[in-house]
């Protein structure tokens, strides 16, 4: 912004009736709604999780003790976090090349690639999960291909395995990784990569030393979206994972609806929430650090 623009912007802020100080009341309806239907429910959830019994008479940290002393419960937590990390890793491996192809393509191809990226993003996640059930299931696409190739003679059990969950989740979350990566890669000053080539660096070297480091903000926001999406993906976890593989979201549902144990369900929900918040804080922290690094 040059000084004139700055002045205009300030004048507009000071004088415009739409954005003056007196207009805070416009945020009031949404603020009230969120206070009642977001803040209060989450506080209630926290309060309930600190009750020791299902009838909610006594306070205590009993539910959390109960959670962390049982190896089964700890296993559910670790496999959920592992699922989030593995999904993020797969999304990075496929996301970078697609984002690179998008930025390197001619406008006509960009529209095609964008359609391929947005179409799955907007398709119902139940439908996309169902697609994986069809592909991985008995008599599915993979089974048929493998048997046609003569590699196996009997149907392989692919559905209801942890790797099946990772692959289908990665496919479902992939657009959320590609979009921030593509906008990050597209924002890199092309003179930097040109200078790197001119000074004799190979394309690989330029990629690892220039493009990748400069796209870290996009990588971090993509990783945030994918991780939070993956650990709370109820539909994929239950349909592709089946009843044998237990992850946090279904555990919450099972404890609340089937066992009617609200304090314990609330505690599990709070643990999941805290895990996500830790991840968000860590990624934001790295994001601030790299932003300072990139802009000098």
């Amino acid at each position: 912004m040059n000084p004139t623009q700055k002045l205009t912007a300030r004048r507009a802020r000071v004088r415009s009736g739409i954005s003056g100080l007196s207009d805070w009341w416009l945020t009031l309806p949404l603020g009230l709604f969120f206070a009642i239907f977001v803040a209060v429910p989450l506080l209630l959830l926290a309060a309930i999780s600190f009750h020791t019994d299902a009838s909610m008479q006594h306070w205590g940290v009993n539910q959390y003790q109960r959670y962390f002393t049982d190896p089964y419960n700890r296993g559910v937590l670790w496999s959920t976090i592992g699922l989030g990390l593995a999904t993020t890793a797969v999304c990075i491996v496929f996301g970078y090349p697609i984002a690179w192809l998008y930025t390197a393509s001619a406008p006509k191809w960009r529209r095609v690639i964008l359609l391929c990226i947005l179409m799955p993003l907007l398709t119902s996640s139940v439908v996309r999960t169902f697609a994986w059930v069809v592909i991985l299931g008995n008599d599915g696409l993979i089974d048929h291909t493998l048997m046609a190739l003569g590699w196996v003679t009997y149907p392989v059990k692919l559905l209801y395995t942890p790797s099946a969950v990772v692959v289908s989740l990665a496919q479902i979350e992939l657009p959320l990784m590609i979009l921030p990566l593509a906008s990050s890669l597209g924002a890199i000053d092309t003179r930097l990569t040109e200078a790197s080539h001119a000074l004799g660096a190979s394309q690989w070297r330029t990629w690892w030393r220039i493009s990748m480091p400069l796209s870290v903000p996009g990588l971090l926001s993509g990783a945030l979206l994918v991780f939070t999406g993956a650990v709370s993906a109820f539909v994929v976890q239950t349909l592709v994972g089946g009843g044998q593989l237990m992850y946090m979201p279904f555990y919450i549902y099972q404890q609340a609806i089937e066992s009617q144990d609200y304090p314990f369900a609330a505690a599990v929900a709070m643990i999941l929430l805290v895990c996500i918040l830790i991840m968000v804080t860590a990624l934001n922290y790295f994001g601030r650090k790299t932003r300072g690094f990139i802009h000098g």
Binding site: R11, A12, G17, I18, D23, L26, T27, P29, L30, F33, F34, I36, V38, P41, L42, L45, F94, G95, Y96, P97, I98, L101, L114, C116, I117, L118, M119, P120, L122, S124, V126, V127, R128, T129, F130, A131, V133, V134, G137, D139, L141, Q171, L174, P175, L176, L179, A198, G200, S202, Q203, W204, S232, F234, V235, L239, I252, Y253, A256, L272, L273
Partner: protein
């Protein structure tokens, strides 16, 4: 390094002339550090054993595999939905429309669930859009800590797992002894929709030239007139793409609705979830086929009217 000789001859072709007198120096220093014995003019591509074009090829191959991974599942479901058989066998034994007929004429519970979903998503998007646009025009221009805190509060439903939020809202309604109804479902979905509209609208508002507002005022327009004639038209693409994403998310949501809907207000994704979990009924494939078609058509419409896809790719960051 057997091919050192080749590199020396390749080298002049790789770079424009104006740079060629600079590169040997740079290489000499690099090589002195990395490979003391190597020839000073060894091309870095060859030094690491890569073909000069290997980067483009590798990236393009992985990218095309990734793009296939993105679209193949939808195609598989579309083909399966036209099966003439009784199972989800792929490839299908024959093609027919029987499952679409079964879905439309013999499945009142799926059609009912569809109407509940459409009703909830439409109402939630409409209400969330009004609330979020009102908040966005204030928050987008403010840089105070209060405004930023409020903004992150409004974004919370994007990071908080919907399952936790749903359980919380269920507890709230139980405490108020209101029980579950269409309205509990609607309340949850409004909270889910608002962040998307707020986000895209704020992004559009940030791009609005403040000089326009200023001139509108100087020419004597009232704040409301300025809002309707200047601000709202400029925000329309942002609002439209936000509302579109919000509608799709509400329509698709399972985790929140799981706690907030009862037998009377069962939404379509939950109905489908039950079908897929219990019986792998082929009607689920037909319903999926319809949803894919609707998504594709509405995407192309949005692309035409609001240029939504370019907006979305710019704004999802």
């Amino acid at each position: 390094m057997a091919d050192t000789g080749n590199d020396a001859t390749d080298h002049p072709n790789e770079y424009p002339n104006e740079y060629s007198h600079e590169s040997p120096n740079g290489h000499a220093r690099e090589d002195a550090k990395v490979h003391p014995q190597a020839h000073p003019r060894v091309h870095p591509d060859k030094r690491s054993g890569h073909h000069p074009r290997s980067f483009g090829y590798t990236m393009a191959i992985i990218a095309i595999l990734g793009l296939l991974l993105l679209i193949v599942p939808s195609v598989v479901v579309l083909i399966t939905s036209f099966t003439s058989g009784y199972s989800l066998k792929f490839p299908p034994p024959g093609l027919s429309l029987r499952w679409y007929k079964a879905l439309l004429f013999d499945s009142p519970e799926i059609v009912d669930a569809l109407w509940v979903s459409v009703k909830v998503a439409t109402l939630a998007t409409a209400i969330a859009t009004v609330l979020a646009v009102a908040a966005a025009v204030v928050l987008a221009r403010k840089r105070t800590i209060a405004a930023r805190l409020l903004d992150s509060f409004f974004m919370a439903p994007l990071t908080v797992p919907s399952l936790a939020l749903g359980l919380g809202i269920l507890v709230l309604f139980n405490l108020g002894s209101a029980g579950l109804s269409f309205y509990s479902l609607l309340a949850g979905h409004i909270a889910l929709c608002a962040p998307y509209v707020l986000y895209t609208t704020s992004a559009s508002y940030a791009q609005l030239d403040p000089a326009l507002l200023d001139s509108s005022r100087c020419l004597g327009a009232s704040p409301w007139r300025t809002f309707y004639r200047i601000v709202l038209p400029a925000l329309r693409p942002g609002i439209a793409s936000g509302a579109f994403i919000a509608f799709m998310n509400s329509f698709d949501n399972v985790a929140l609705s799981l706690f907030l809907s009862d037998a009377r207000t069962e939404v379509l994704p939950i109905r489908l979830w039950h079908i897929i979990e219990d019986s792998l009924d082929v009607r689920a494939a037909a319903a999926s086929g319809i949803l894919i078609a609707v998504t594709l058509v509405s995407m192309l419409l949005m692309e035409r009217f609001a240029n939504a896809s370019s907006n979305m790719s710019r704004q999802i960051r």
